[in-house]
Subunit: 446 residues, 2 copies
Amino acid sequence: MLGLNYSFMMAETIGQKGITGRKLESFRVRALEALEEIKRKRLPGLAFTELPWQDVSPVREAAKKLKELDYFLLLGIGGSALGPKCILEALSPFHNLRADKGPKVFIYENVDPSTLQSIIACLDIKRTGVNVISKSGGTSETMASFMILHEMMEKALGGEARNRFVLTTDPEKGDLRKLAAEGMGSLAIPPGVGGRYSVLSPVGLLMAEVIGVDSRELLAGAKEAHGKCMAGEFWENPAIVAATLFYVMQRDEGRKIDVLIPYADRLKSFSEWFCQLWSESLGKQGRGLTPYPSVGTTDQHSQVQLWMEGPEDKIITFLRVEDYGADFIIPDVFSRYEGMSFLRGQSLAGLIKAEEEATELALAKAGRPNMSITIPGIDAYHLGQLFYFFELVTVLTGHFLDVNPFDQPSVEEGKKLTFGLMGKKGFEDKKREVVQARDKKSQFTA
Amino acid sequence: MLGLNYSFMMAETIGQKGITGRKLESFRVRALEALEEIKRKRLPGLAFTELPWQDVSPVREAAKKLKELDYFLLLGIGGSALGPKCILEALSPFHNLRADKGPKVFIYENVDPSTLQSIIACLDIKRTGVNVISKSGGTSETMASFMILHEMMEKALGGEARNRFVLTTDPEKGDLRKLAAEGMGSLAIPPGVGGRYSVLSPVGLLMAEVIGVDSRELLAGAKEAHGKCMAGEFWENPAIVAATLFYVMQRDEGRKIDVLIPYADRLKSFSEWFCQLWSESLGKQGRGLTPYPSVGTTDQHSQVQLWMEGPEDKIITFLRVEDYGADFIIPDVFSRYEGMSFLRGQSLAGLIKAEEEATELALAKAGRPNMSITIPGIDAYHLGQLFYFFELVTVLTGHFLDVNPFDQPSVEEGKKLTFGLMGKKGFEDKKREVVQARDKKSQFTA
């Protein structure tokens, strides 16, 4: 199980910039009540807590066919892309450059025409399977690329084209589901599982299976996290303690930016996945916490100056890896130079871990609160734990902030204005609004 | 030249959450004085303003040899990696999957052993050229990978190995320069050009030339930006206006998070480059602004909820592209479904641009200040402009904040503690400190 060390968040360790154990303790009853609400599913959107026990056979069945092809293209955006991308990059790094790794994988998570052109230049459309992911079945960006790809595939393959699509969507509602009913392959995202909590549903599991990862391992890890984090304890429960710290630090210390810095390139996407989860779940009603994506050691040469000496508005959460599954010993070359001689005989894994530990301490010494999560290695089991753990921390923190962590009401206005510009029926007034704004906007330019 | 539209920052357009023209005007004298200081190079570190006029022949010479090989590996971290990475991803997207694009390129910007293992599995060491970049010539992370690669290459190539390295470093000081004096190929980063302001030096230009981009185009764009932004004007000068807005918005409105959201996948790395520049340059003495990396439309499904309805602590800067250099028409398929029918006949470029415009307006309507920068297309010329523009905006904003935008004093402590852990001579006390901290740290875990 992942471990949480929050010593450098505590007044007992870092002094007045920390939180006292007594203050945390005073939060215990409220926190355990929140956990009870979650366990009893008194909030909507908690169906994600049941995902670890799902039947993965439909996903494995679909993957089996897709793996016979040479290319796998995923169309999705936001929660429909970040989870699968994270699984791909964590569990099969440099996937497309390794010949032995099954179908080459592309994720198109935008409507940038230049990217689509590049992707199409890289694949043979006749040997491609496409996974279209949209919970609602009507996300404009995803529908646009789906329509383009479908026409291309039909031109290349005729009637066979329809067998190359897997539509991952709501089991009953939406346009994608209707297309599935007409015969296209499909997978279901269970009702009550929102896009950003869907990585352990077929949204992420299909990617896992296609790249040769046993999706049951992801779920097994999530189950362990469930067991540990749903237990009715406070001090032994890493999800409750972490959520309480995030909440209290923003309420009492104004620390409203939460950096997640994994010390592993393969987990950079995990940090981005976390950012979407945290932003959309908690940023509402004038409240909310701004997540910040990062990766170590790289960002020591980018962000650490700001964290050490900039405004006191951040908490840094380190994500440590015990075993990188590879290592290199730094050889005894150029040792006549002092900047290099001390490195000889050391290992790269030793260096990255030393830098992580040193950065934690340097921050603590500067009175900058930070905590760390440790996983034994980067594999499906521990990635499943991380997903589940952070989802639960997000829901708990939302509960403390008194916001609904499952909606995203404020993205609607932008969608409506886009509909207006694109000439969708019923949105004519929105188009007028944009055009009028253009006049106003011509005022201030340089 | 790139254009700045700041209408949605102004009270005249968005009401009380904006800044009045009068307030901006009151800043004019101070701003022009700052510009004058910069023009007269009264600050250290301003040598980057001379880079557009450099002689690129040493870079082109070095690139010519590297292009004869099949693989190009860059070793660097922070400012020594982000600029070249940005050039690679903006100007040669999906580079390694396109057969016609010259050497395959890898950037190793960390000490993660798993990544190095993956990279080495992808390349043929006998057909590889290596560019080692470190301004000081002694960055530990870069030295570690350099030592490993050098030994590997020597084993594979014998004495020929030394001809495969290009060391990009200070022209006089440091270990890398000494190695160059012993016969390894090298390029010089001019004195007074700091790592994060070095992209238009050989640091970035060599990458450009290796991937087939004329580095003179980058410099030509930068020259135009110099001409426009060094002119002694206020309202017509996009760098001065932008810096003033960033400064005043944080001082008077508490908006201390600056999001940069390019609407182009190829500029995602540009946003990351900007983040390093902004963080290290401005985050000091308790002051500073937190930059935030983003990409549109993708992050509309990730961050926009938070920007619209979360804490009022952000400014959003859009980066718009007029011509994507590619386009797709959305075909007339599935038009029996309402969620798709309005898209038929539209273009992807039209859709991404509509979404960008709609998001600007939606934010403005919610009283969330934002501005936009427009470039005609993503090419070396306009990328050069963007680099130079943002460097100048950073220096100006630092001047207003009264911090030195060229140092990064607070990264030293972490380095020293790492030296201690790695057994470097003279840092024994630092090692003791880390070991003692381990005891303290065992207190709070879950």
